[in-house]
């Protein structure tokens, strides 16, 4: 992922004593801003706007429409509605997001944060180190690690189960991707919930314990009300990242037979493999709109909290 948004930083705020102590002046300040904004404009804002235009044409990578693309209005969007492969990609992306982000990373991340709270220091450090390592390793390396786990002949999972011969990535591609992405992204939720749990008043936990509440009751009635906002913002962020994640391409490339073709892989295959740039741009635009909605909801929530 190129751009990881800052999650728990507060929304922009006015700093008290906000004054030009360095004597920069507005003109020089704009000069300082210009190079950064120029690059952002060229490589983020312009592409985002240009997607809209390309999506309204029949532009292709090769052939006559590559040199003289025609304006086709909303044809690409109309085509998407009828395209079974696009529907398939949407559905698989939804499965991927719900399975690996909303459920997988969220639940495992919280469970780790909750159970590691009182754990011995060495155990806590060891588990956290491995969870974090799974997050910081480059995606290409991580893809090979999981190909080695799920391989049919010598794969680690087959060996552990004592029954090699199952090509997990071919027979259960989506399930494999969901487990993979849970492994890959849990660190974020774990860290976020760790810091959220630190803000739960210990006296309330103590009271729950003396009243004989079970662990589940404590989580539901004492902890959850304190961290509800964090659960919401965390879920939004990890869902957004997961929906935009290109790693499935590295594990299954969308196969076999489109069975694991999530939207990012679909866009890539339409744009580069099939060369249908106009159609792929229209789909990208839809993804941009969804991203925008999620990010706006996220910002509103952050603002409410602060």
């Amino acid at each position: 992922m190129v751009s990881a948004p800052p999650a728990e930083v507060a929304a922009p705020r006015r700093v008290p004593g906000d004054r030009d102590t360095a004597g920069l002046g507005v003109a020089r300040a704009i000069g300082f801003l210009a190079p950064g904004l120029l690059l952002i404009g060229l490589f983020l804002v312009f592409p985002a706007l240009w997607t809209i235009y390309i999506g309204l044409t029949n532009y292709t990578l090769t052939g006559t429409t590559s040199t003289a693309p025609a304006f086709v209005g909303l044809d690409n969007f109309a085509e998407a509605l009828d395209d079974a492969l696009f529907g398939n990609a949407l559905w698989l992306t939804l499965l991927f997001v719900i399975g690996s982000a909303v459920l997988g990373q969220n639940i495992l991340g919280f469970a780790l944060a909750w159970f590691l709270r009182g754990a011995r220091v060495w155990l806590r450090r060891t588990v956290e180190a491995f969870v974090l390592l799974s997050w910081i390793l480059p995606s290409v390396v991580v893809a090979y690690l999981w190909i080695a786990v799920l391989d049919r002949d010598g794969g680690t999972l087959g060996a552990l189960l004592g029954s090699p011969g199952t090509a997990w990535l071919v027979e259960y591609p989506m399930a494999s991707l969901i487990v993979f992405n849970t492994w890959r992204g849990t660190a974020f939720s774990m860290m976020l919930y760790s810091s959220a749990l630190a803000a739960v008043p210990p006296s309330q936990l103590e009271t729950a314990r003396t009243m004989g509440a079970s662990g589940w009751q404590t989580v539901r009635d004492v902890v959850f009300p304190h961290i509800r906002g964090h659960v919401l913002t965390n879920t939004l962020l990890i869902s957004l990242w997961t929906a935009n994640d290109f790693s499935p391409f590295l594990l299954t490339a969308g196969g076999p037979n489109h069975e694991s073709e999530t939207l990012p892989v679909f866009i890539y295959r339409q744009a580069i493999s099939s060369g249908r740039l106009g159609y792929a741009a229209a789909i990208s635009f839809l993804l941009l709109v969804v991203n925008l909605v999620v990010a706006l909801v996220y910002l509103v929530l952050l603002r409410k909290r602060s």
Partner: protein, 273 residues
């Protein structure tokens, strides 16, 4: 110990063991396969050898792609860090008209315009400009994607730098540039170091953009080459892949250890540093 406590304790130990195994087992391959005389896809106790290392170092593109990775990362990281520092300082100290709106916009841009959502227009743009296979251009594209988040985080850092230092420096007649170079930068160093490492790690691990924009094997960084390593038969070259994965992953891990040891593991939400 009551029955219930025993049950709880067992459940706890089982959960921890399962979680540890789940996260650790896939990584063991990176420790065993590079040293195995017959490395396969799957974990086994290695039959120790260093032959894979020789195979990797004599591979025609392996080391070159690591150099390409360094070039790409240095361009992207240097541009991101310098431009973000300048912008963050200006935004922190001067009330430019429309500043708060700009900050919100940056925050939105950093999460909305992902590499995936923008791959088509970026590819088309570079294609039309004839910049496919240009490492510098690819570095700039990557920098453009990282800048909003970098500016935002650095502004937070610089906001917390006490202004009294700058005021004293001004009183003694320092120019604004001198104040920035000799007062603000040294004090904001932990923040800048964090961004430097974050940007480097992001650029180093980025697969999609170099994969799209660098089609020529001589220009490809390690992230892209690693996915194309084949032996003569056309199947994955397992003598080179494990060693090369390890070589490629080590800098990332080393940088994290360095930053967390030196400055403490900072948790900036999505920012992994």
């Amino acid at each position: 110990m009551s029955f219930r406590q025993t049950l709880r304790r067992t459940g706890y130990v089982a959960f921890m063991a399962a979680a540890l195994a789940f996260f650790a087992v896939p990584m063991l391959w990176l420790a065993s396969a590079p040293f195995d005389s017959d490395p396969g896809l799957g974990l086994r106790w290695p039959d120790w050898t260093l032959a894979n290392w020789e195979a990797t170092f004599s591979h025609p593109y392996a080391l070159g792609s690591l150099v390409n990775s360094v070039v790409l990362c240095v361009v992207a990281t240097a541009v991101t860090t310098v431009f973000a520092t300048l912008a963050a300082y200006a935004l922190s100290r001067v009330r430019i008209p429309g500043r708060d709106a700009l900050l919100y916009l940056l925050l939105l841009l950093s999460s909305v315009v992902t590499g995936t959502a923008a791959m088509v227009p970026i590819f088309v743009m570079m294609f039309q400009l004839g910049l496919i296979n240009s490492q510098y251009a690819t570095g700039l594209v990557i920098a453009g994607g990282m800048l909003p988040a970098a500016i935002f985080i650095l502004k937070d850092f610089i906001d917390s730098v006490p202004r009294s230092y700058e005021e004293s420096a001004r009183v003694f007649g320092a120019s604004p540039t001198q104040v920035l170079l000799h007062v603000v930068l040294p004090v904001a160093r932990p923040g800048i170091a964090t961004i430097l490492v974050w940007a480097f790690v992001q650029a180093w691990g980025n697969f999609l953009l170099p994969f799209l924009l660098l089609r020529d094997v001589d220009a490809q960084p390690a992230a892209v080459l690693l996915t194309t390593l084949k032996d003569e038969g056309g199947s994955a070259n397992l003598n080179v892949i494990p060693v090369f994965s390890l070589l490629y992953a080590v800098p990332v891990v080393a940088l994290y250890l360095f930053v967390s040891k030196r400055y403490g593991f900072r948790f900036h939400g999505g920012i992994k540093a």
